[in-house]
């Protein structure tokens, strides 16, 4: 066991994947010599040579297009999109190509690529360094969408993603790269070294894609969240004083529906939290599924606590970010009905 922050855990996953499989290679903007603007690929070029870890032109469409071709050849490319705000130029290659290649070729060709990309705000990044675009990918069949909330999961999930035989989008909540940020931006951040889930085995292990985790058992209300919001929700649950069960999805698609349904059937109440804008966000799908499967158990309308339906405003980001106060009020609200 070692102490790792999320960047180190992600780096370790790539390191191990490259070590184990000569067909794994890593590329993207600034990921080579420099090791990535968030340092996630630091040291990989030095260790594996520039053939296996290298920079790319600033061309997200080209990066993913080339990765699809590499996947067709038989490699397992792991590419970095520097900020998920910049994934849109690659949208066609992801949606029309990577996601549908297996289907349209009836299994004749596949694209087992992994796209790593930092998401989320709270870093004074303004509207183009803060987005959480997961819902536009979860609408696309053929893609797997993952978002870890801690170093331990990040490593195990990323290894699973790289070994998965289909394209995976691996969203990295950048606000918790260094520590489990709980939304209290005015308090000092606890580093991962002081957190249980910063204990990460140095060796190979995997976490199955599609399994949620109950991070706080409770009886009264189910709080569903992922990424940074897991820590916000844990804080909110605590602060609300209510016996809330908090579920970290980890994997958005495939979704661990059973875990959610079991919990909501037990609690009868549900709050869904994400940082992305509300309308047509991933929360909408969660609400739909839960009302479908738990209709007769629900005691109150399901609440969504999300980013507002605006771009992420630089100076007002703490009014935008769905922080623990807002979440705890929502928890209390569903308890009242």
């Amino acid at each position: 066991m070692a102490r790792m922050n999320m960047i180190q855990a992600i780096n370790s996953a790539m390191d191990i994947a490259m070590e184990r499989d000569p067909n794994v290679l890593v590329f993207g903007e600034d990921v080579g010599y420099f090791g990535g603007v968030f340092r996630a690929t630091a040291g990989l070029q030095k260790k594996y040579g520039k053939r296996r870890c290298f920079d790319a032109p600033i061309s997200e469409g080209g990066i993913v297009g080339a990765a699809v071709g590499m996947g067709v050849y038989g490699l397992r490319p792991v590419v970095e999109i520097q900020f998920s705000d910049y994934i849109y130029p690659a949208f066609d290659q992801l949606v029309s190509e990577a996601a549908r290649l297996r289907y349209r070729s009836a299994g004749g060709f596949t694209a087992p690529l992994t796209v790593r990309t930092p998401v989320g705000g709270g870093i004074f990044g303004g509207q183009t360094h803060s987005q959480s675009p997961e819902a536009i990918f979860t609408h696309v069949c053929g893609l797997t969408s993952i978002m870890p909330s801690n170093p331990y999961d990040a490593k195990g999930l990323l290894l699973s993603a790289i070994e998965d035989d289909d394209p995976v989008i691996f969203f990295e909540p950048k606000r918790i790269y260094n520590g489990p940020f709980d939304g209290h931006h005015d308090r000092p951040l606890t580093p991962w070294t002081k957190h249980d889930l910063g204990e990460v085995p140095e060796e190979y292990y995997k976490i199955e894609l599609g399994k949620a985790k109950i991070v706080r058992p409770g009886e009264k209300v189910t709080v569903i969240c992922y990424g940074t919001m897991v820590h916000v929700c844990l804080a909110a649950a605590e602060e609300s004083g209510i016996d809330a069960e908090v579920i970290d999805l980890r994997s958005l698609l495939p979704l661990d529906l059973d875990c959610l349904v079991t919990s909501v059937k037990k609690t009868g109440r549900c709050v869904i939290v994400h940082e992305a804008t509300k309308t047509c966000g991933y929360g909408a799908e969660l609400v739909s599924l839960i009302q479908e499967h738990c209709f007769y158990h629900l005691e109150a309308p399901i609440e969504r606590v999300t980013g507002w339906d605006t771009p992420y405003p630089h100076a007002y980001e703490w009014d935008y970010f769905p922080g623990p106060y807002r979440v705890s009020r929502a928890i209390k609200k569903v308890m009242e009905e």
């Binding site: 032109p57 297009g65 699809v68 071709g69 490319p77 297996r102 289907y103």
Partner: protein, 419 residues
Amino acid sequence: MKTAPLSLHIPEPKTRPGDLVDFSDIQIPAAGIVARPASDIDAAAMRDYAYALIRVLDDKGQAVGEWNPKLSADTLRLGLRHMVLTREFDERMMKLQRQGKTSFYIKCTGEEAIGVAQAMALDDKDMLFPSYRQQGLLVARGCPLVRLMNQIFSNTQDNLKGRQLPIMYSEPDYGFFSISGNLGTQYPQAVGWAMASAYSGDTRIAAGWVGDGSTAEGDFHYALTFASVYRAPVVLNVVNNQWAISTFQGMAGGEQATFAARAVGYGLPALRVDGNDFLAVYAATEWAAERARNNHGATLIELYTYRAAPHSSSDDPAAYRPAEEAKNWPLGEPIERLKKHLIAIGEWSEERHAALVTEMTERVMEQLKEASSHGTLGNPPPNDPGSMFEDVLKEVPGRLLIQREEMLALRAAAAQEGV
């Protein structure tokens, strides 16, 4: 400062329906005049090739100049055979589409030399990333027509399980990548495959195709950028057949420069080739393949041709261009030109050609018989709807298992209720 008002330039083809055909501004240099450099030449020394036109077959049907690939008569006859077969196949399938046996078809009439000669010039193990108008590649690689027909009919033997629009073939065993409906996407993928081959120390190269119109997509730029930067072993082809549905090539920038010239800015060599000249297409492809295989990187080939066919079975070109253009295309048509050459060198005759056409027509009919025995579109109705839930991912995920059950239950109920 000048203050005359600006005005917007909208390119327009020289002629439209009702006008007389006028190809007078197409410059056709003589065959044989372009020099053939060594395939490892520095790209910077090749810039003029973007504006030349490599032609081997002259007006008398003789093969002339340094680009003559000096193929054996057998090879030439094989090429002719593939081209005739491709054309007969196209004709028959379009007829069947008209008869409602399938929903859609695309012919490559007039462009047969491209798929056929390029497949023959490449190694059989090289990987092809085509657009939808290079069926000649599959014919030349020996893919049985019945496979293609099964796909076109979405019948029980369709290797794509009825999922794809007709002609969107995918033939891994023939090194032929799944055709995408989205234009241009295969171009950076071809480059990525080539990079992977180089990464792996392989000896196979890749080739990709796009049309003149599709060069305007971002994918074209990605492909050239990545091919240049990583020196990928790939042959990048632009089939300039003058039209993109109803839109002439000037709307993709062809008024201002050749498509081959696009290569220059990326430091890639370009070859501009008479696309209706089997020998020239073969030679240029061979050169580019040799360059790639020797680790000197990518070449852009502009294949200068004319789309004699309608865009697709959904299209009527009489609505936007003079009907007589195809017949008057100054570079003729590829089958006729190769035939003339073979006759000129005493290796072919009108009689043998007529026999070949008959043989190929029969071959198509024979394969068609087999394909039809597996059904045509909707006749009988395809019978494995549950298969539509497969291959979204490697394993059918839980939610699709449920959806499949729902769909099958629905069908069963409908059948029972007689709906």
